[in-house]
Amino acid sequence: MIEEVLATARYNAKVDPSLGIWTWEIAFYLFMGGMAAGIMLFAAWAVLGSRRGTLPFAHDRFALWAPIVLSLGMTTLFLDLEYKIHVFRFYTSFEPSSPMSWGAWVLVLIYPLMVVQILSTLRDGYPVLAGWLERLPGGGWLLDICEGRRRTIAWLVVPLAVGLGIYTGVLLSAFSARPFWNSGILGPLFLVSGMSTAAVLPLLAGVGGGEKQFFERSDLGLIAIELTLIALFLISLATGAAQHMQALHLVWGGEYTVPFWLWFVLPGLLIPLLLEFLALRGNRLSGITAAVLVVAGGFMLRYLMVEIGQVSTWNDYAIQFDPQLLQRLMP
């Protein structure tokens, strides 16, 4: 038996008794980042496949959602910073060993690319917006340029959007100090989950006909891949070193078993999988329900991952100190 007890007072805020530095803000950012990547990929897919006839929403209108979604995520990311006034420091250096630094700089590439992707189909998708832009000097010329290079832009979107989606997972998996996160599968898992949550947005926006079927079928496939990746993720923990097995225990018999399986896997993946089968057979209500559940499940995946990862640790000290005692000493 080994018992390790903190003999002196230590109760550092957000570090003790277990790490709690990141909460919903980071989870929401990772969720929105993945969703934005998915939106860009579907829009690029429709252009590269010349699917304007069969996928009009994805081809002409979907791309505009990406910067809105990503910006909402960036807002909560900013809210999470403890020293907000120093946010500009992300752009005064580039640290190649830091995934977060890569993420900050990739966003500098992603945002302009999002804009040109939108402009490449703006006249067809949002003629009113295109009209406003054409009234500005050079606006019409810019639209012409982007439309003329629509396929080139779509080709550029693919690697960067895949990178953005994978990055949201790598941000966590790069921390070897947190065994639950430290798996290379997190990158692909978050990418596929991001694409899945993006695939249900057109269903919520009310697209119909063949396009509705395309997104339902796509989401069905993506959920199946996501389930496979989650199984591989759990297997990689189960076959890892002692601290990985300990981390697995958190969702396999431990304190996060119920949230992980009953709040995420069942309502966020398995039930939508079933409902989307029914939706493909014409049940409209089940399609909408599945879409809502997929979005909620996508957020729950990030929320639980962020939280469980912080609980998994190499340290295992018992803390005797009661921080409330300190409050009594305060004037």
């Binding site: 003999a7 002196t8 910073l81 992300f90 921390f175």
Partner: protein, 180 residues
């Protein structure tokens, strides 16, 4: 790279916590926050129990994951040594370094929000002095010095005595050593 090390004799440490108080005084660490702490580790089955006290802090790793994960370069090595510092003026409070430290040795300095940690009292080391915790230890169980100097007290102790570091399997190459 100069390698500074702290060597702590668990056979003479009595867990009094003077090192913790000395650090708080020297570095003006706010109430409720700690850069160092003492762990009482008991192993065995009653009545065959063995207890060791360990004064713990940042391990000033030569391969510090907190430094490699910092997106702004705020976490850095001091003067080409293994002493890991945080430049408050570059810190955004993103907390990546806190997540990256397997020893949970970092803390957030409220209300400003920058991340703080043990500095091995580099301001004292710069003047040829020992860190405050080492100089205040009443049992002289703590030692500090340059590992590159074969004649330093830390080199000699590590040469002569059985020792360990905490969780070497993290790969961070920590430099707080415990004589056992």
């Amino acid at each position: 790279m100069t390698t500074f090390a702290m060597v702590i004799d668990t056979r003479t440490c009595i867990g009094c916590g003077d090192c913790v108080v000395a650090c708080k005084n020297e570095n003006k660490v706010p109430a409720g926050l700690n850069r160092d702490w003492v762990v009482e580790a008991t192993r065995g089955e009653y009545p065959n129990l063995e207890t060791e006290f360990r004064s713990e802090r940042c391990n000033h790793c030569s391969h510090a994951t907190c430094v490699t994960s910092c997106p702004t370069g705020a976490s850095h090595y001091w003067k080409d040594s293994n002493i890991v510092l945080v430049a408050a003026e570059k810190c955004t409070g993103c907390k990546a370094c806190i997540a990256a430290c397997p020893y949970d040795a970092r803390l957030i300095m409220h209300p400003d929000g920058y991340v703080d940690k043990c500095t091995f009292c580099h301001h004292r080391v710069d003047q040829g002095l020992e860190p405050a915790c080492v100089s205040s230890c009443p049992t002289h169980c703590m030692h500090f010095g340059n590992l590159d100097d074969r004649d330093s007290i830390v080199s000699r102790l590590l040469r002569d005595r059985r020792h360990k570091v905490l969780m070497p399997e993290t790969g961070n190459r920590p430099h707080v050593y415990y004589l056992t």
